[in-house]
C-alpha cells in the first residue's frame, strides 16, 4: 500500500488505512482539519502526515528546467568541485595520487595494519585542516572521535609545532611575513581540535546522531576523524545482521553530514583476514557490506621497510600507490636516502 512509503508511525498508518486513505493521491489535496476529523487525531498529527505526502509545490519551474528542489545539475556540480579545497596530508606524494589531498563532501576510509600510522595520519589531518587559507589550508576546526583511546595530546602538539614551523618557513619565503604576523601559535592548533571520547557502540551511534546538531552550531568544523570506526563493533556483537544494519545506517548519516556541511569525514579502520580463493588475505574489517559504505577507500601497507598508501576505491581517482613516512614531525614524504642508510 502506498501509505507505507510515508515516514510516519505504524499507528498513524493503520488509522490512515482504516479510514480509506490507502493511496497517496488521496492525501494531496486535503486540509489538515479534514484529515484530523476523518482519522480522529489531533490537527498537529494530521499536519505532520500531510507534510510528508507528496505535493507539486516543490518543483521549481521558474528556471524552465523543472528542477526538483535539492537536486543539482552536473554542470553546477562541476564548478563547485573545482572550487573545493582539499586537506593536505603533508606528504606531497600522497597528495599527488589523491589529487591534492583528502576531499571535502566525501567520506574517506583509511585502513591498515597496527602501527602503520593510521592515528598519525588522523592527527595530521586534524592539524592540517586548521592551516589558514593563504597557506593552502581551510582555516577550519576538527572533530576527533576517539574510540580506542589512542589520541596522544603530546604528539598532537609535536605535529602542530612542526606544522607551524613549516608554515612560517613557507611564509618567510613567499610573502616576507614575519613570525609575529601569522597570528597562530602551536597551542591554538590544540584549541581547535574538538575531542570526543567514545566508550561503547551505543555512545558512538548517539554521538554521530548528535553531530548534525553540533556542527550546525559550529559551522567552522571542516573535518570529522573517527579513530577508529571499527573498535566497538568488533567485540560483543553476536547478531551480525544487526551490526550490518547499524553500520550502514551510520554510514548514511556520515554521508549526509559530509554533504550538508561540506566537510571531510575520515574513518580509520582496522584489518582482518579473509579467506578467498584458497588463501587468507588481509582486508579491511567490518565485512563486505561495509566496504561499500565509503566514497573513497585508502589502504596503508608495508612494502619491505617502506610505508605505502594505496587508493583501493574512488569514483574519480585512479588506483595508485605512493610511499610516505611517519617522522617525528608527522606524516612526510618518504626520503629514500634515509631508508638506504637504515638498510645498511
Amino acid at each position: 500500500m502506498e501509505v507505507g512509503r510515508l515516514p510516519i508511525s505504524a499507528a498513524l498508518k493503520g488509522k490512515l488505512v482504516s479510514a480509506g486513505y490507502t493511496s497517496l493521491s488521496l492525501l494531496s489535496s486535503l486540509s489538515p482539519s479534514h484529515l484530523a476529523r476523518d482519522l480522529n487525531i489531533s490537527e498537529n498529527e494530521a499536519l505532520d502526515i500531510l507534510k510528508h505526502a507528496p505535493h507539486d509545490g516543490r518543483i521549481d519551474t521558474s528556471s524552465g528546467h523543472h528542477i526538483i528542489s535539492g537536486a543539482q545539475t552536473a554542470w553546477d556540480m562541476l564548478h563547485e568541485e573545482e572550487l573545493l579545497t582539499r586537506i593536505t596530508t603533508s606528504s606531497v606524494e600522497i597528495d599527488n595520487i589523491l589529487g591534492g589531498g583528502i576531499s571535502c563532501r566525501e567520506v574517506t576510509e583509511i585502513g591498515g595494519v597496527p602501527g602503520i600510522g593510521k592515528t598519525q595520519l588522523g592527527i595530521q589531518l586534524a592539524v592540517n585542516v586548521q592551516l589558514p587559507v593563504h597557506c593552502g589550508g581551510l582555516g577550519g576546526k576538527a572533530i576527533y572521535i576517539d574510540t580506542e583511546g589512542s589520541f596522544m595530546v603530546e604528539r598532537v602538539l609535536q605535529i602542530a609545532e612542526a606544522c607551524w614551523d613549516d608554515m612560517l618557513a613557507n611564509n618567510a619565503i613567499s610573502q616576507n611575513v614575519h613570525a609575529g604576523q601569522v597570528g597562530m601559535q602551536p597551542k591554538d592548533f590544540l584549541e581547535n581540535i574538538l575531542y570526543f571520547r567514545v566508550c561503547s557502540y551505543t555512545e558512538q551511534i548517539a554521538l554521530i546522531n548528535y553531530l548534525d546538531k553540533f556542527i550546525s552550531e559550529h559551522r567552522d568544523v571542516k573535518i570529522v576523524v573517527v579513530d577508529s570506526i571499527t573498535f566497538h563493533f568488533r567485540q560483543d556483537f553476536e547478531d551480525m545482521a544487526l551490526r550490518t544494519r547499524l553500520l550502514s545506517g551510520m554510514a548514511l548519516k556520515l554521508m549526509k553530514l559530509a554533504k550538508k556541511f561540506c566537510l571531510a569525514v575520515v574513518l580509520l579502520n582496522q584489518v582482518t583476514t579473509k579467506y578467498a580463493e584458497g588463501s587468507f588475505q588481509l582486508t579491511l574489517a567490518l565485512g563486505d557490506s561495509w566496504s561499500h559504505a565509503c566514497t573513497n577507500r585508502i589502504i596503508l601497507y608495508w612494502n619491505g621497510n617502506e610505508r605505502y598508501a594505496y587508493i583501493d576505491k574512488s569514483p574519480s581517482l585512479r588506483s595508485a600507490s605512493a610511499p610516505y613516512a611517519v617522522t617525528a614531525r608527522g606524516i612526510r614524504n618518504n626520503v629514500s636516502n634515509c631508508k638506504r642508510i637504515k638498510l645498511m
Binding site: G4, G20, D56, I68, L78, K256, C294, P315, R318
Partner: protein, 321 residues
C-alpha cells in the same frame, strides 16, 4: 481506494443513509466493500425499508470498482508500444551493449551488483554521460554515497564526443551536463519523496508533450535498504518491494530506463553474491553481476537474469581512465 464518504460528492446515491448501513457492517471504504461477501450484503440490503436505493448504491460502487482497472491491450498494441517506445539505450561500453543486445531497455529495471570497487559507479557515470550525450535525454542520478563525480562525467563526455583527445566545446558540454541531475539521498523515505516529485513532474511534462527524461540511476539502492532490512518486523521488506514497484511503474509508464546498483555479500565458498536476499531476486527485470581483476581496468559482467536472453552469458569490457 477511496472511502465511501469521499465518493458521496461524486455519486449522490451513496448518501449518509447508505453509509450508515455500510458502517454497521464494518464497511468504510471501497476496499472493505471488495472483501465482503457481496451476496449476503445484497440479501441484507433487500430487507431494509429503502432496499431499492441501497441496491442502486451497491451497483454504483461496483461500477466504480469496475472503472478502476487499466484498459486491455492486445499483442499488436503491445508490439507497437515496444517498437515505438521501448528502445534500448546504449550504455557507452561495447562489451555491455553486446551482452545486452544493444543496451538497457526502456521500461525495464536493471540491477547491477558487484563487490566494492568492481566498477558499478564507473559504469553508472559512463551510462549517464552516454545517454545524456547520445540521446539528448534527461538523467536523474540518485546518489547515496556522495560518489557522483561531475569531473568524471566531464571526462567521459570528452571521451565519447571526440576520441582524438580534442576538448569538447564548452557550450555543448554545458548543455549536456545540465541535463544530468543529481539528488543526494540518505534514507529511503527521501528517495520516495524524490520519486513522487519526479512522477508529478513527468505527468506534467507528458501533458505538454515534451517528455525528455530517459534514465533514472540509483547508486546504490542497497545502502538505503540495508539499514531497514532484516529487523524483526516485515516493514523493511515492504518498503523494499514498494520502492521497486514504484520504479517499475515509472519505467513502464514513462518509458524510462531504471538502473540500480546493489552490493554483494559472501555466498557459498566465499564467492560474492548479490545482497538483499531472496525476495529481492524476483524484482528487477535484468540482473547483472560485475567483477574486476585486481588493479586492472578490465571488467567482467555476467547475466544473472534477463527476460529474453539466456542467463549465464558473460562479457568483458574496459572503462578508460
Amino acid at each position: 481506494m477511496a472511502s465511501l464518504k469521499r465518493l458521496e460528492t461524486e455519486f449522490p446515491i451513496l448518501d449518509p443513509d447508505f453509509q450508515s448501513f455500510c458502517a454497521l457492517r464494518g464497511i468504510f471504504t471501497v476496499q472493505d466493500f471488495l472483501i465482503r461477501d457481496l451476496q449476503s450484503l445484497v440479501a441484507d440490503a433487500e430487507q431494509q425499508p429503502s432496499s431499492e436505493r441501497f441496491m442502486q448504491a451497491i451497483n454504483q460502487v461496483l461500477y466504480v470498482i469496475d472503472g478502476l482497472h487499466q484498459p486491455w491491450l492486445n499483442g499488436v498494441d503491445l508490439m507497437e508500444d515496444a517498437q515505438k517506445n521501448k528502445h534500448v539505450l546504449s550504455t557507452g561500453c561495447e562489451g555491455m551493449d553486446f551482452l545486452l543486445r544493444g543496451g538497457l531497455r526502456r521500461g525495464q529495471v536493471t540491477e547491477l551488483a558487484g563487490p566494492s570497487s568492481s566498477g558499478k559507479t564507473q559504469f553508472c557515470l559512463l551510462t549517464a554521460s552516454t545517454v545524456a550525450y547520445k540521446y539528448m535525454g534527461g538523467v536523474i542520478y540518485i546518489d547515496t554515497g556522495n560518489s557522483f563525480s561531475a569531473k568524471r562525467i566531464a571526462r567521459f563526455l570528452n571521451q565519447i564526443s571526440c576520441p582524438a583527445s580534442e576538448e569538447m566545446q564548452p557550450r555543448v558540454l554545458q548543455e549536456v551536463m545540465n541535463s544530468i541531475l543529481c539528488h543526494p539521498v540518505y534514507d529511503i523515505f527521501s528517495m520516495f519523496d524524490v520519486l513522487h516529485c519526479l512522477e508529478s513532474k513527468l505527468k506534467y511534462q507528458i501533458c505538454r508533450g515534451d517528455n525528455d527524461e530517459r534514465l533514472i540511476i540509483i547508486d546504490s539502492i542497497s545502502s538505503l535498504i540495508t539499514p531497514i532490512l532484516g529487523s524483526s518486523g516485515s516493514q523493511g521488506r515492504a518498503l523494499m518491494v514498494s520502492a521497486m514497484s514504484l520504479l517499475k511503474k515509472l519505467a513502464h509508464e514513462y518509458n524510462l530506463v531504471v538502473l540500480v546498483t546493489n552490493h554483494t555479500v559472501g555466498g557459498d565458498g566465499g564467492i560474492p553474491k548479490p545482497a538483499l536476499g531472496v525476495s529481492w531476486k524476483t524484482l528487477p527485470h535484468v540482473r547483472l553481476l560485475l567483477s574486476r581483476d585486481c588493479g586492472s581496468n578490465t571488467y567482467q559482467v555476467s547475466l544473472l537474469k534477463h527476460p529474453s536472453i539466456a542467463s549465464g552469458k558473460a562479457a568483458k569490457f574496459i572503462i578508460n581512465d
